[in-house]
Amino acid sequence: MMDTATLFGLCAAALVGLGLYAFIVNPQPLRKIIAFNVIGSGVFVLVGAVAYRGGAAGWGGDPVPQALLITGLVVAFCASALAIALLQRLAREAESVTLASDAPAAPPATPE
Amino acid sequence: MNLADLFTVAAVCAGAFFFLAGSVGLLRFPDALTRLHALTKADNLGLGLVVLGLLPRVDGVLGGLKLVVIWLLALLASAAASQLIARAVKRSEPGA
């Protein structure tokens, strides 16, 4: 059977892939924010696996990446919060909130 | 295996059984409100029994009390959440 770090490392790789797929194809921005969080969690689980591998000195994991993880989690939370605030404000100002393309403020940049 | 271990095994098994019952209830019960019963009652009891089973394994009375505090908090959360969800259901479909 696989060891813990490898198992969760592979799990992390799959999470990143799943998140990326959703990030690309889901038109609803809130889903993109969720997808970002899935990608992020995949990265974090990977870091967790790296930390687990580095367990030494009586600790179950390398404390340095674990500390980085805490920072990363907080940053990701802030990013989600800011993005959601933007999205809600956009929903109040506009009918459609999708991001597939932008319509520049004045006449479109694409040819007539 | 001493008596305390036996107790742990018995209680945790019983707890696990109620988790099973709760999930079966969720699968089989026909509507949201009946499923809510399964969720709050069976799973809370399951958690309670797990806590009970772990009591002999913690050091000191305070450690055990901490587990009980966790169970009570989970109970409060579950009771409040079930009422809130029930009210939300009742409002969205008054006839249900």
């Binding site: 490392g9 799943l18 924010i33 969720i34 600790w59 990013a79 | 409040a80």
Partner: protein, 312 residues
């Protein structure tokens, strides 16, 4: 047995992630995310990162979940328009191919990581004595890599400014979010009356033990922020107008104390963010005590949202 548990966890996590990707309904995906956050907490415990588990439980399971649930409900009316823009199968196939490729590349990388794994754990252990604290994570966050933590508090504050910057001009300086009302004799209000004081005790506890055991200011601050938000959602408390002087001071107080102590280190210990011998633990605690209220307030106000109402 541990392996089986890990495998089960990994499968469950992946299934939930897949659910979030394929679910038609955004609300369904959001609920999946809440569960996902809770499950990741278990993953962190299995990966021997109890500190991380605490953070994930407080932030991922609590704050982010609540935020997403509220947003999904508010954004429901935009669903139909968004669904119509679902890209065609060539795009989806290409996305699946490329995303799968990334997964494959990462999997190869994971399998190719060197054995034995490099680690800074021994080095951390050797230097922990100088910090005076017992929790290596706290040692890393407030001594060895203190600047990261300082910047992180700035990140949180910037996110708040970003949220505030979305306020309509006429209500600038006003109160964030809608004024919540709820029947004061109902379940929600009841929970919001009983739980927050308990949560406050738990939050401070998680913060306070962080010096020597898993825990710390971010986790504690998240819990306290969540409790305050509960009272706000039940209409028992209201967010203060953002123009209040005391509020601004409270928000920047923590980071400023951090910087001041760091700057004092230049004079007393020869480097920014250095602590004089013997005083390390005291100063670290001072910084943490200063940061806790600032962080709790900042996180709570980020969640409270964009100012929407005039100050009165």
């Amino acid at each position: 047995m541990s392996e089986a548990l890990n495998a089960g966890l990994a499968l469950f996590v992946l299934a939930l992630a897949a659910w979030m990707v394929v679910a038609r309904d955004t609300f369904a995906a959001v609920v999946g995310f809440v569960a996902y956050g809770l499950l990741l907490t278990l993953v962190w415990v299995q990966l021997h990162g109890v500190d991380v588990a605490l953070t994930e439980g407080a932030i991922g399971g609590g704050l982010t979940g609540a935020m997403l649930v509220a947003a999904a409900a508010r954004l429901r009316r935009t669903e139909a328009a968004a669904r119509a823009e679902r890209p065609g199968w060539p795009t989806r196939a290409a996305a699946a191919l490329l995303a799968g490729g990334v997964t494959a590349a990462l999997a190869v990388a994971v399998l190719a990581l060197p054995v034995p794994a490099p680690s800074l754990a021994p080095e951390t252990a050797a230097n922990m004595g100088a910090t005076g604290v017992g929790n290596p994570i706290t040692g890393v966050l407030l001594a060895f890599r203190a600047v990261d933590t300082l910047l992180e508090t700035t990140v949180v504050l910037l996110a708040l400014i970003g949220v505030w910057s979305l306020a309509p001009d006429r209500v600038w300086g006003g109160r964030p979010g809608p004024r919540h009302r709820a029947d004061p004799n109902e379940t929600l209000a009841y929970l919001a009356r009983v739980l927050p004081p308990i949560g406050l005790v738990v939050g401070v506890y998680i913060f306070w033990v962080g010096a020597d055991l898993p825990g710390g200011k971010f986790q504690g601050a998240s819990i306290i922020a969540a409790m305050w938000l509960l009272a706000v959602m039940a209409g028992l408390s209201d967010a203060p107008p953002i123009s209040r002087g005391w509020l601004r001071l409270a928000l920047v107080g923590g980071p400023l104390v951090f910087i001041a102590i760091g700057a004092a280190g230049v004079a007393t210990a020869g480097a920014f963010l250095a602590y004089p011998d013997g005083l390390a633990k005291l100063l670290i605690k001072a910084i943490e005590w200063a940061l806790l209220p600032s962080l709790a307030l900042t996180l709570a106000l980020i969640l409270a949202g964009v100012p929407e109402r005039p100050a009165r």
